[in-house]
């Protein structure tokens, strides 16, 4: 397990092989940590909503803080029309945040450091936002590619750029999260390896780097979850309030 900094990202099967229609759907360590993250969220919310106190306890306060944090984020970026999508964005934010945070524990697995996971989430958001856009505005939704107030000469160029930027949304959204998580964890692993290989004499410098990087990575873990959620809100805002 030690050594290769990429080793931590390898997926391996846990338990029996599940094969449905020729597709390998086995339970893996990635699945395990998805379940663990979701379980932690649900337990946290269970404890946080167990007692309905006017003056909240610690866990209740944190749960309510998450609620108001996400609610404010949505209302600030996407307005009141985005209220029906609040549960989805809340779940998304919590899931990404807790997957990132659980991944910070040593010997754990970071679900969000896999491109396939982030890509599926990003693609789902992209397709859902596009469907919502067309459902709300019909073909007028295509005017999202034609920003107003642009000189006629530049309009074809701008439209092409807009289309490309729109289509690259799922890629940028997924790669941002995946690359951040992977790079951070790889770096931690590399410095951890230095600590071992430099031994008692030289290992202190990379150890201090490791400590600092751990702090940074916790910040990144939160920040990337926030960025993922807020970009979803912004895409949703484009689809709901069509004014470019």
């Amino acid at each position: 397990m030690a050594g290769n900094p990429m080793q931590q990202f390898s997926v391996h099967k846990i338990g029996p092989e599940i094969n449905i229609g020729g597709v390998d759907l086995s339970f893996t360590n990635a699945s395990l940590f998805m379940v663990i993250s979701a379980a932690i969220i649900l337990i946290f919310l269970f404890v946080g909503t167990k007692e309905k106190k006017i003056i909240p306890g610690k866990v209740q306060l944190i749960a309510e803080m998450f609620y108001t944090f996400v609610a404010k984020m949505i209302s600030d970026t996407a307005g009141s029309k985005a209220k029906p999508y609040f549960p989805f964005i809340f779940s998304l934010f919590m899931f990404v945040l807790f997957c990132n945070m659980v991944g910070m524990l040593p010997y754990s697995f970071t679900v969000t450091s896999h491109i396939i996971v982030t890509l599926i989430m990003a693609l789902f958001i992209f397709i859902a936002v596009t469907i919502i856009g067309f459902a709300k505005h019909g073909f007028k939704y295509l005017t999202i590619f034609v920003p107003s107030g642009v000189p006629a000469v530049l309009l074809p160029l701008i439209t092409v750029i807009e289309i490309i930027s729109y289509l690259s949304r799922p890629v940028s959204l997924s790669v941002r999260l995946f690359a951040n998580m992977m790079a951070g964890h790889t770096m931690l692993k590399v410095f951890g390896g230095f600590v071992i290989s430099l031994g008692l004499l030289g290992g202190w410098l990379p150890l201090s780097f490791s400590v600092a990087l751990t702090g940074l990575e916790i910040l990144v873990a939160f920040l990337q979850a926030y960025v993922f959620a807020i970009l979803t809100c912004i895409y949703l805002n484009d689809a709901l309030n069509l004014h470019h």
């Binding site: 990202f9 997926v11 699945s31 998805m34 379940v35 969220i41 909503t49 549960p87 599926i120």
Partner: protein, 191 residues
């Protein structure tokens, strides 16, 4: 520092060599992509439904309850404040009325007192005048009486003086006439 840095770079190179054989990103190995996608969708769906159907309404209810409670409390506080303000106004009004009453009473009593004093003063003045007149009368009477007394005394004194000086006894009536004449001449000076 630079030596350390070189050391690190060398180490990275060595490590890179060591793991070159098994290098590569496990993320790009499609072996478990389907599994990851499947479990992600499954886990996230369960998470989404339990959060949206169960936990979010609970949190929202609690937040709403708290907000309602706070609003109610604020309303109560405002009501109490209004009540106390109206009470204060009432109190001030009462105070003002009392002040007005006091001034009124003061004016009234002053007027009454003035009247009283005036009446008494008039009465006393009348009495004083009466007494003055009386006194004047008495004085006049006394003066009148005193004139005859003076006449008598003067006559006796004159008789005595004459007797003592000359040793003769003069006719009383002539003395009396002389005294009366003198006093008539001089009485205007003293009375």
């Amino acid at each position: 520092m630079k030596r350390y840095l070189n050391f690190f770079i060398a180490l990275i190179a060595i490590q890179g060599d060591l793991y070159a054989a098994e290098a590569g990103m496990p993320q790009l190995d499609p072996k478990y992509w389907a599994s990851q996608a499947f479990w992600l969708i499954l886990v996230f769906t369960v998470l989404y439904f339990s959060i949206s159907k169960f936990y979010l309404p609970k949190i929202k209810n609690n937040l709403d309850d708290r907000e309602n409670k706070i609003n109610d409390d604020i309303e109560d506080a405002n009501k109490s404040k209004e009540l106390s303000e109206s009470k204060l106004k009432e109190y001030e009004k009462i105070l003002e009325d009392a002040k007005k009453e006091v001034i009124k009473i003061q004016i009234e009593s002053k007027a009454k007192l003035d009247k009283d004093i005036h009446e008494k003063k008039e009465k006393i003045e009348k009495e004083i005048e009466k007494e003055l007149i009386q006194a004047q009368k008495e004085i006049t009477e006394l003066k009148k009486n005193s004139i005859s007394d003076i006449h008598n005394i003067s006559k006796e004194i004159a008789t005595n003086i004459i007797e003592n000086i000359s040793g003769d006894k003069l006719n009383e009536s002539s003395i009396k006439a002389a005294v009366e004449e003198i006093s008539k001449k001089n009485v205007g000076k003293y009375l």
